[in-house]
């Protein structure tokens, strides 16, 4: 036990009004203090980890070999980089692209999961019988 703040109150012994409020104040102050420290540490560690991750991803991009046929087919370059972030093909059955995009946005908003972390396999219209 921490001897600095130990008050050694025996069972059955009662506190004075001042002691009651002092102890209640200590509890809330220490809770705020510890959680403030957690706030600082988590914020800092988050920023450090994000910085390290972004440096890592930049290095990976630099390390990738540039396609030799680039001058011959410049228009094909854009779809290739787009495919790197693909979550797979989405099958649409009786559903136009606009409606599918709206459904995906609603699901992302409803679940709180960012759209780039969600994987949709198919969206199909279910008609009422």
């Amino acid at each position: 036990m921490n001897p600095v703040i130990q008050l050694t109150v025996e069972r059955g012994q009662h506190l004075t009004t001042a002691e009651m409020f002092m102890n209640a104040g200590i509890v809330i102050l220490v809770v705020f203090g510890v959680l403030l420290l957690m706030y600082i540490l988590i914020s800092i560690s988050g920023k450090i980890i994000q910085a390290i991750t972004s440096i890592g991803s930049k290095k990976e991009k630099k390390a990738e070999p540039t396609p030799a046929a680039a001058p011959a087919a410049p228009a094909a370059a854009a779809p290739v980089s787009g495919e790197e972030f693909s979550s797979g093909a989405l099958k649409l059955k009786n559903c136009d692209e606009k409606t599918a995009a709206m459904i995906m946005a609603i699901v992302a908003d409803d679940t709180g999961i960012p759209l780039n972390e969600l994987v949709f396999k198919s969206i199909k219209l279910v008609e009422k019988k």
């Binding site: 008050l7 109150v9 009651m20 409020f21 809330i28 220490v30 809770v31 420290l37 957690m38 994000q50």
Partner: protein, 402 residues
């Protein structure tokens, strides 16, 4: 013939209600157990916990031949190991056998069950919303105001500091933490405190919304919050390690509780211990819940439970819950103003732990005001911060009065 019938009556359980001076109290406790069973089964108020608690209460208050299924007096102060080993005789010299709950209660008394439940909670919890918005920590801290408030009220009503601290922790809205602290500081109050804590947690949908409406304006409640940034796996792995190191270095007394919470979370987030995570979340959690619930319910023995003290604990517990909500909402209001209206203050009310019930209530109240408002994930941040906050508060109380 008459003698045989008389003997039969006297040895029956029914007669014990009339012959034993405290028999009527057991009768009342059985009726309370029926009421709790009704609430758990019909109303589905925290059934996973309330049902075993109610059944434990029922079993312990039924007259048992040979001295009963549970002997709370064997756990006052140090555990009476000789009695548990079958070496106990009452004042009249009758040999008293230990009952089933005497053995199960060892898990409560030695803090095994609350810690294992916390491990399961950790394995089930996604701390992502808290990591992506660390300011949620303040709302979790604000909601611990109910603990301090209830502590002062309990002291003023004549409880000693250990009892008052145990009653105060009801405001943390965290069952395992309440059991952990009470079993260490004031074990004689464990039954009343555990039942009050779990009952109020089940009643959160009724307790919180009026307080939320009182402390927020319609405009505040309608605030739609922006999506937080995605959290990387590395951050999620680092989080339980950082929390454990910091909290345990500051408050070593809370190491078992918080350590188990964070170990469970590391099982989940590390991605290499899926089997352990699955066991902690399901099989272990269910087994420990059965043993914890029934043995806590068994502590509600009529002769010890039916006292003015219990009514006071239930009353202060309710006030603690209300003031915990108030504390969280006040911090929520402050953050609403500081963020220039970007943070919905309702999520502050979720800081009272009670995962995920309090977050659900905040989301539901927000959606009532604005049907396109989905606050659940935002409210999960303060909600899980509240779990850490109440564990920290328990650690401080243990350091002060343990």
């Amino acid at each position: 013939m008459l003698e045989v019938l008389k003997n039969l009556w006297e040895t029956s359980g029914f007669a014990q209600f009339f012959l034993d001076p405290d028999g009527w109290k057991s009768g009342i406790m059985i009726l309370i157990a029926f009421a709790l069973l009704y609430m758990a089964i019909k109303k589905q108020f925290e059934p996973l916990l309330l049902l075993p608690i109610a059944f434990g209460m029922l079993l312990t208050n039924l007259p048992w031949p040979g001295g009963g299924i549970f002997h709370p007096e064997w756990f006052e102060g140090d555990i009476n190991w000789a009695a548990l080993g079958g070496q106990y005789h009452d004042a009249a010299g009758n040999h008293i056998d230990p009952g089933l709950f005497d053995f199960l209660y060892i898990g409560v008394k030695m803090d095994i069950f609350p810690c294992l439940i916390f491990m399961a909670v950790g394995a089930m919890t996604d701390f992502g919303p808290l990591i992506s918005r660390p300011s949620s920590f303040f709302m979790g801290a604000g909601a611990q105001f109910g603990i301090s408030f209830a502590f002062v009220v309990a002291c003023l009503l004549g409880f000693d500091p250990q009892g008052a601290a145990s009653i105060g922790i009801i405001g943390g809205a965290d069952g395992p933490t309440a059991i952990y602290l009470t079993s260490k500081l004031a074990p004689e109050l464990l039954g009343a405190i555990a039942i009050a804590a779990y009952s109020y947690m089940a009643l959160i949908p009724m307790i919180q919304p009026p307080v939320m409406k009182l402390l927020t304006t319609k405009k505040m409640r309608q605030v739609k919050m922006e999506q937080t940034r995605p959290v990387s796996k590395t951050e999620k792995i680092c989080f339980p390690i950082i929390v454990t190191v910091v909290c345990v270095l500051i408050l070593p007394s809370v190491a078992p509780l918080l350590g188990c919470l964070m170990l469970g979370n590391l099982f989940r987030e590390s991605g290499v211990t899926d089997r352990l995570s699955d066991t902690a979340q399901n099989a272990m959690c269910n087994i420990v819940t059965i043993m914890l619930g029934t043995s806590v319910g068994a502590t509600a023995v009529g002769a010890r439970f039916l006292k003015l003290e219990t009514i006071m604990i239930i009353g202060i517990g309710l006030a603690a819950f209300i003031f915990a909500t108030v504390g969280g909402l006040i911090i929520g209001d402050i953050m609403y103003f500081l963020s220039k209206g970007k943070i919905n203050p309702l999520i502050g009310a979720a800081g009272v732990s009670a995962v995920p019930m309090a977050a659900r209530v905040a989301s539901k109240v927000g959606q009532k005001e604005n049907p396109s408002n989905f606050l659940l994930m935002h409210a999960m941040g303060p909600n899980v911060a509240g779990v850490i906050g109440s564990a920290v508060a328990a650690g401080i109380l243990l350091t002060l009065f343990g």
